[in-house]
C-alpha cells in the first residue's frame, strides 16, 4: 500500500488514488489526419515496463487532480511526483 505524495494535498494513502496508466501520451491534435496505424499507436500501445515508469495518477478521493508519478515497478519505489504540464524529472 503506497504512501503517495499528492502535489496538491501531500502524503495520502494509496486507497485515495487511482492509476491512469502510462503518462506523457498526448492525444493527437488532428486525429483525422492520422493513418489507422498511427491512431492505433496512440490508442492501444502502452509500455508496461519492469523498472522506472512514468504514470498518470488521480487523487480521486481527494482533490481529484491528475498528476504524474515516476515509479519503479520492480520495487514500487516512487521516485518523483509532479503536476500535469510540468516537465518529467531527468533521471
Amino acid at each position: 500500500m503506497f504512501l503517495i505524495n499528492c502535489p496538491y494535498c501531500g502524503e495520502r494513502d494509496q486507497s485515495e488514488f487511482s492509476c491512469g496508466g502510462e503518462a506523457h501520451i498526448v492525444r493527437p491534435k488532428q486525429p483525422t489526419e492520422l493513418s489507422d496505424d498511427q491512431w492505433a499507436e496512440y490508442l492501444f500501445m502502452r509500455k508496461n515496463i519492469k523498472g522506472v515508469q512514468f504514470e498518470r495518477w488521480n487523487h480521486a478521493h481527494g482533490c481529484r487532480k491528475w498528476f504524474n508519478m515516476v515509479r519503479d515497478t520492480s520495487n514500487d519505489k516512487i521516485h518523483a511526483v509532479y503536476k500535469m504540464g510540468e516537465k518529467p524529472p531527468v533521471e
Binding site: 500500500m1 504512501l3 494513502d13 488532428q30 486525429p31 483525422t32 488521480n58 491528475w66 514500487d76 500535469m84
Partner: protein
C-alpha cells in the same frame, strides 16, 4: 495440583483454578495457562491426528509455529472456530475444545489406516491416482476427497461478534516484545518518538522472561530479572503504546502494516458482553523495527512425530514459565548449545534428563554446567527410531560416522516419556521479506538472514540472526541508535555474561540404518510430508523450491511451514548437490498467522457492506409497497405491485397506464453534472458525437458519448440553462465514471478550456411524468404556466415555482410519450412527488418502476447503454448514424469510427426482433442463429432486451446481430434448451415511428 505441575511461577496463578473441556472430558488448569500448558499439566500429549496419514500427534511447541495441536473450539455454538492453536489460546473458564481430523475419536481413528497404506500414497498421489477411470470422478473420488479434505468445521451460522478496524500513525513501530523489542521501544520512546510496541502474547519479555541461569546475566542479574525491571520501567513511558495479544498479520510497502488485536478471545463466553472481539489495526509507521525473534528448528529423523516429541525450548518454557514438566524421563536430542539450557533447568528441578548431541563435542559453559549437574551426554549420536503409538516410551540411538552421512556401531535403547528436540534456530524473516526485503544465506549456522536496503525498517535481535545474549543487546542498541539517530542510551555500557557456542554441526536429514524408503522422517507435520516425499519430487523432475512445495504440499498447511521450510530446502540442496543459499526460499506471504474473516471485514457487514443510496422519495416508495432493484449503489423502485401482483402483472398494468393516461417515475438517480464556463459549448462539442454550438438557451438535446476507441460509453439529455451553463444528465450507473472521464480530459488534454464541472446528482430530485394526460397534470401543478406546444415545445426547459420553491421543468421523453421531468432541490423531492400524485389522481396517475421504464423505452427502440451496448458497439452499430456529426472536426472517438475494424459491415448491429408467435417472449442473452444445418452452428448475435408489450399486444425484442442492418424481414432462429423459436428481424422502433405521441 497435578503431578506434572512441578514448579510455581509468577506467570501462572496457581490459586485460580480454571476448568475446561477437551474432547468431552473435564480438566483443570490455572489462570495464565494456555490450552496447551493446561493439557500438558494433565499429562495430555495426544491432541490430534495428522492430515494425511492420521498419525497420532501431540503438542510440539509453545507458539504460533505449532503444527499439531490445532483444535476446534466451542463446537456447536455460533462462536465455534476451527484450526485454533492450543499453544496460543489462553485458557478460560468453560472453554470447550476438541481435536480435529479424527473419527470417531482421537484415540481410535478409522483414518489411521492411511498410516499403514502410506507406501501407496506418496507425494502427488492425488494427481496420479484419481485420473482414471474418468467415470469414477463424480461418484467416488470427488465425494471421498471432499469427505477427507479440510481441517475442522466452519461455523454454520452468521458470526454474532463485533469486529473493528482502527487506523493509526506512529513514528516508530516495534514488532515483538522480546528482549530486543523492549530495548528498541525504550530507546525510541525515551527519545520523544511516538512509539507503538506490539506483541502477540499477553505478556512481554519473550523467552528471556523465564531465564534464570548462572551463565546468562545482564548487569550481574539473571537475564529474566533484568528484563522484568526493564518492562516495569517501559510501562511508565508516555510516548509508548504497548499492545499485547496483538499479532502482526502483514507488512506492506511504505511501512503500512496490519495487526490483529485479540480483545475478548481470552475471556469466558459469559464475560464477553457483546463487546468487540478483535480489532484490525491499520498502521502507517514512519519507521519499523522488526524484533520477531526466531523459531526453534526440529530435527528430521525416523518417526520424529510421536506425541511427546517436542521442541526443546518449548519444554523449557512449559517448565519455567507455566511450571509444567512435559515428562519425568526426558531425553533431549540436539545439534546446538541452546538445548542444554533446557537440560540444566530440568536437572535443577530434579527431573531426569539425558542428552543426545550429533556434535562430537562442545566446550561451552552451558554444556559444562549440564555435565557438572550430572546430565549424561551421548556425543556424535543420532536417534534412529522412536516407539509409542499415543505417547513416546523409548528411542533407539546410534553413533554417527565421521562425516555424518551414516550411522555406525550398535543401537542403544533409551526409555523416555518426552523427547525434546532442537535443530538450531530459524530467524523469523517473514516480516522483512513481506515488506519487500531480500535475504542472505549465512553458511555457519545455515540461516537466511535479512539483507537490509530499505532505509525505513531494520531487524534486530534473533530475527536478524543474533542468537547470543551479548550480540542481541549490543547489536540491537547499536542498530537502533543509528536508525533513530540517537547518540546515547542506557544500554551503552551493559555488561553481559553468556555462554558462547563454539561448536556447530548440522545434518538436515539424519542418517539411519533403516532404508530411506521405510523411514518416516517428517518435515511438515501438519501436511504429513516426509523427507522421502521431497526426494521423490526431485526424482520426478521438480527442481524449483516453489514446485517441490506445491507437489509435496510441504509448508502449505495452516502453519505455513514455519517449522518445515528450512528442512525442505536443506534436503533439496543436499540431494541436488547445490548450495542452499542459491536455492532461495519460497515466498513469505501475509498473513503471518491466520486472520479471522471478521477481522478483515470489520464493520462492513449487513447494511454497512456497501453504501446504500436512496432518493429523497424513497420513503414514499416503501409506503407504496415498491419492490426495489439495485442500480449501482442506488435503490430504485423496480415495480409497485398491487395486492398479490407479480412482476409481470404489475409491469403490464403500469406500462399500459403510462401510455393510456399518466405514469410517474422517480428519475432522481440519473447522474447530473453542472457544466459552466465560457468554453462549455466547445467542451460539449468535443465530448459528444453531435453538435452543440447552436443549441439555444432553454433547449435540451440528447447526446451520445464515446470512448476514444469509438465505442458508446454513455448517453443522456443535456440542457442549456444559460449562455455558459449546461446541465448534463448521465446514466445512473455511469455518473461517477463520466465525471471522472470529463475531468481527465479537462485537466490533461484541454487545460486551456474554461470549463468547470460539478456533480449535482444528489442535489436534485426528479419526478418524470409521462402519458397523454401529463400536460393536464403539469398544468394543475403550475397553473400560471403556458404548456402549449408553441410556448413549451418538446426538448425544451423552463423554470417554474411550487410554493415559492424553484424548480426546473424539462419536456423530454425516454418513453416515447408526451413527458415532463421536474427537478427540484432534493429536500423538497418527496413533497414534489406527493404533489404530482395528488394532481394526477383524477387521471389515475400510476407510479412505475425501472422495469416498466425499460419496457416503454424498448417499445420506442431507445437503447440503454450497458444493456443494449456492451463496450463493443459504435453509434453506427446501433443504427444511430444520425447522431454522429459529419461536420465536426473532432470529438472523442471520432477517428476510431473509421478504423478498418469499425467500418466492417459484418459487425454486430442493433435490430428489432419479433417472434413468429406473438405471445412468445425471448430470453435476454439468448443466442441467435440463422442456419441450424451447418455444424458447428454459427451464433450470429444475441438478444439484449425483451418484453411482452401490452400496448402492442405482442412480444418485442432488441438484439445485436451480425450484419443485422441488412436483414430487415429475414427469418432467424433463437435456439433454446427444449425448442427453437422462430423470429423475424424488424425495425428497432416498434411504436409510434412518427413521434406523434411525444408531440401530442
Amino acid at each position: 495440583m497435578t503431578k506434572y505441575r512441578v514448579n510455581k511461577t509468577k506467570h501462572v496463578d496457581q490459586t485460580k483454578t480454571v476448568s475446561f473441556d477437551f474432547d468431552g472430558k473435564s480438566y483443570h488448569g490455572f489462570e495464565g495457562d494456555t490450552l496447551a500448558s493446561a493439557l500438558l499439566s494433565n499429562g495430555v500429549h495426544l491432541v490430534g491426528r495428522s492430515f494425511k496419514y492420521h498419525r497420532p500427534r501431540g503438542i510440539m511447541s509453545s507458539g504460533s509455529e505449532e503444527p499439531n495441536a490445532i483444535c476446534q473450539i466451542n463446537e456447536d455454538t455460533d462462536l465455534t472456530e476451527p484450526n485454533v492453536r492450543a499453544t496460543e489460546i489462553e485458557l478460560y473458564e468453560g472453554l470447550k475444545a476438541s481435536s480435529q481430523n479424527c473419527w470417531p475419536s482421537v484415540n481410535f481413528d478409522i483414518g489411521g489406516i492411511n498410516n499403514f497404506i502410506s507406501p501407496f500414497i506418496p507425494a502427488g498421489f492425488y494427481y496420479k491416482t484419481f485420473m482414471w477411470p474418468k467415470s469414477f470422478w463424480k461418484k467416488i473420488y470427488e465425494p471421498l476427497i471432499r469427505w477427507s479434505a479440510g481441517l475442522g468445521k466452519s461455523p454454520r451460522k452468521p458470526d454474532p461478534e463485533l469486529y473493528d478496524h482502527k487506523h493509526v500513525h506512529c513514528d516508530v513501530l516495534i514488532i515483538g516484545g522480546g528482549i530486543s523489542g523492549i530495548i528498541a521501544s525504550k530507546i525510541a520512546a525515551k527519545n520523544n518518538l511516538k512509539t507503538i510496541l506490539i506483541e502477540d502474547k499477553n505478556t512481554l519479555g519473550g523467552s528471556t522472561i523465564f531465564q534464570k541461569n548462572e551463565n546468562y546475566k545482564i548487569n550481574d542479574k539473571y537475564s529474566g530479572e533484568w528484563i522484568d525491571e526493564e518492562i516495569a520501567e517501559l510501562k511508565k513511558l508516555d510516548n509508548l503504546t504497548i499492545k499485547t495479544r496483538t499479532s502482526l498479520a502483514a507488512y506492506h510497502s511504505y511501512n503500512y502494516l496490519l495487526a490483529k488485536e485479540n480483545i475478548s478471545d481470552h475471556l469466558p463466553l459469559d464475560k464477553r458482553n457483546g463487546g468487540i472481539r478483535q480489532r484490525l489495526w491499520k498502521i502507517r509507521a514512519d519507521k519499523v523495527i522488526v524484533a520477531t525473534g526466531a523459531i526453534e528448528r526440529p530435527l528430521v529423523f525416523n518417526n520424529n512425530d510421536r506425541p511427546g516429541i517436542m521442541l526443546s525450548n518449548s519444554v523449557k518454557k512449559y517448565l519455567d514459565f507455566y511450571g509444567v514438566s512435559c515428562g519425568f524421563k526426558n531425553v533431549i536430542f540436539t545439534n546446538n548449545d541452546s538445548a542444554y539450557e533446557t537440560a540444566v533447568s530440568l536437572k535443577e528441578k530434579g527431573i531426569s534428563v539425558e542428552m543426545i548431541d550429533i556434535r562430537k563435542k562442545s566446550n561451552s559453559k552451558i554444556v559444562k554446567n549440564a555435565e557438572q549437574l550430572g546430565v549424561k551426554i551421548y556425543w556424535n549420536s543420532t536417534v534412529v527410531n522412536t516407539f509409542g503409538l499415543r505417547k513416546i516410551y523409548s528411542i533407539d540411538i546410534m553413533n554417527l560416522s565421521e562425516d555424518g552421512s551414516n550411522v555406525v556401531g550398535n543401537k542403544i535403547r533409551i526409555n523416555c516419556d518426552c523427547l525434546a528436540i532442537s535443530g538450531g534456530w530459524t530467524p523469523m524473516v517473514h516480516m522483512h521479506t513481506q515488506s519487500g526485503g531480500k535475504l542472505d544465506f549465512r553458511e555457519i549456522d545455515q540461516t537466511f538472514i535479512p539483507n537490509e536496503i530499505d532505509k525505513n525498517h531494520i531487524n534486530v535481535g534473533s530475527c536478524n540472526g543474533d542468537f547470543e545474549l551479548e550480540e542481541i543487546i549490543n547489536n540491537t542498541n547499536k542498530k537502533v541508535k543509528n536508525f533513530l539517530n540517537v547518540s546515547k542510551t542506557q544500554f551503552d555500557n551493559t555488561s553481559v555474561l553468556n555462554s558462547k557456542e563454539l561448536d556447530k554441526r548440522n545434518i538436515w536429514l539424519l542418517p539411519n540404518y533403516i532404508s530411506e524408503g521405510k523411514c518416516k522422517s517428517f518435515i511438515d507435520f501438519q501436511n504429513d510430508s516426509t523427507a522421502k516425499d521431497i526426494k521423490l519430487a526431485l526424482r520426478e523432475g521438480f527442481k524449483s523450491i516453489e514446485h517441490v512445495k506445491r507437489y509435496t504440499t510441504t509448508g502449505m498447511a495452516t502453519d505455513q511451514g514455519k517449522l518445515s521450510n528450512m528442512h525442505a530446502l536443506g534436503i533439496i540442496a543436499d540431494t541436488a548437490g547445490v548450495k542452499m543459499g542459491a536455492l532461495g526460499t519460497t515466498t513469505f506471504r501475509p498473513p503471518f498467522t491466520p486472520l479471522t474473516f471478521g477481522s478483515i471485514v470489520g464493520r462492513s457487514v449487513g447494511n454497512f457492506f456497501d453504501i446504500i443510496r436512496k432518493t429523497s422519495i424513497h420513503e414514499w416508495h416503501i409506503q407504496n409497497k415498491a419492490k426495489f432493484e439495485n442500480v449501482g449503489q442506488w435503490k430504485r423502485p423496480w415495480y409497485y405491485p398491487i395486492n398479490d401482483e407479480g412482476l409481470h402483472e404489475a409491469v403490464q398494468r403500469e406500462s399500459k397506464a403510462a401510455r393510456d393516461s399518466a405514469g410517474i417515475l422517480d428519475a432522481s438517480t440519473l447522474g447530473k453534472i453542472d457544466i459552466q464556463g465560457t468554453d462549455a459549448s466547445e467542451f460539449l462539442n468535443r465530448v459528444y458525437t453531435n453538435a452543440w454550438s447552436k443549441l439555444g438557451i432553454g433547449k435540451c438535446r440528447y447526446g451520445l458519448m464515446l470512448n476514444e476507441d469509438g465505442m458508446v460509453y454513455d448517453d443522456g439529455v443535456t440542457t442549456r440553462l444559460g449562455e455558459n451553463h449546461y446541465l448534463m444528465t448521465t446514466t445512473t450507473g455511469g455518473a461517477a465514471n463520466v465525471l471522472s472521464k470529463l475531468e481527465d480530459y479537462l485537466q490533461t488534454e484541454w487545460p486551456e478550456l474554461d470549463v468547470y464541472l460539478t456533480s449535482v446528482t444528489d442535489h436534485y430530485s426528479t419526478a418524470s411524468i409521462c402519458g397523454p394526460n401529463s400536460k393536464k397534470i403539469l398544468k394543475k401543478i403550475f397553473p400560471d404556466k403556458d404548456f402549449s406546444d408553441d410556448a413549451f415545445p418538446h426538448m425544451s426547459y423552463q423554470n417554474g415555482k411550487i410554493d415559492e420553491i424553484n424548480c426546473r421543468i424539462m419536456r423530454i421523453s425516454f418513453t416515447g410519450e408526451l413527458s415532463y421531468e421536474i427537478n427540484i432541490e432534493s429536500k423538497y423531492g418527496k413533497s414534489l412527488w406527493e404533489k404530482c400524485i395528488e394532481a394526477g389522481k383524477e387521471f389515475q396517475i400510476t407510479p412505475y418502476g425501472t422495469e416498466t421504464m425499460h419496457l416503454l423505452r424498448a417499445e420506442k427502440g431507445f437503447i440503454i447503454v450497458g444493456q443494449d451496448t456492451d463496450g463493443t458497439m459504435t453509434p453506427i452499430d446501433l443504427q444511430m448514424d444520425w447522431i454522429v456529426s459529419k461536420k465536426k472536426y473532432d470529438f472523442i472517438g471520432k477517428r476510431s469510427l473509421y478504423r478498418s475494424d469499425t467500418i466492417r459491415e459484418d459487425r454486430k448491429q442493433l435490430v428489432g426482433l419479433l417472434t413468429d408467435d406473438p405471445n412468445e417472449v425471448l430470453e435476454e442473452g439468448a443466442q441467435i442463429v440463422s442456419d441450424m444445418t451447418k455444424k458447428p452452428i454459427e451464433m450470429i448475435g444475441h438478444v439484449t432486451s425483451s418484453y411482452f408489450s401490452p400496448n402492442l399486444n405482442k412480444s418485442i425484442a432488441l438484439a445485436v446481430v451480425k450484419s443485422g442492418k441488412k436483414m430487415n424481414g429475414q427469418k432467424l432462429i433463437v435456439p433454446m434448451e427444449n425448442k427453437n423459436i422462430n423470429v423475424t428481424v424488424s425495425d428497432s422502433v416498434f411504436l409510434d415511428k412518427e413521434n406523434k405521441r411525444i408531440n401530442a
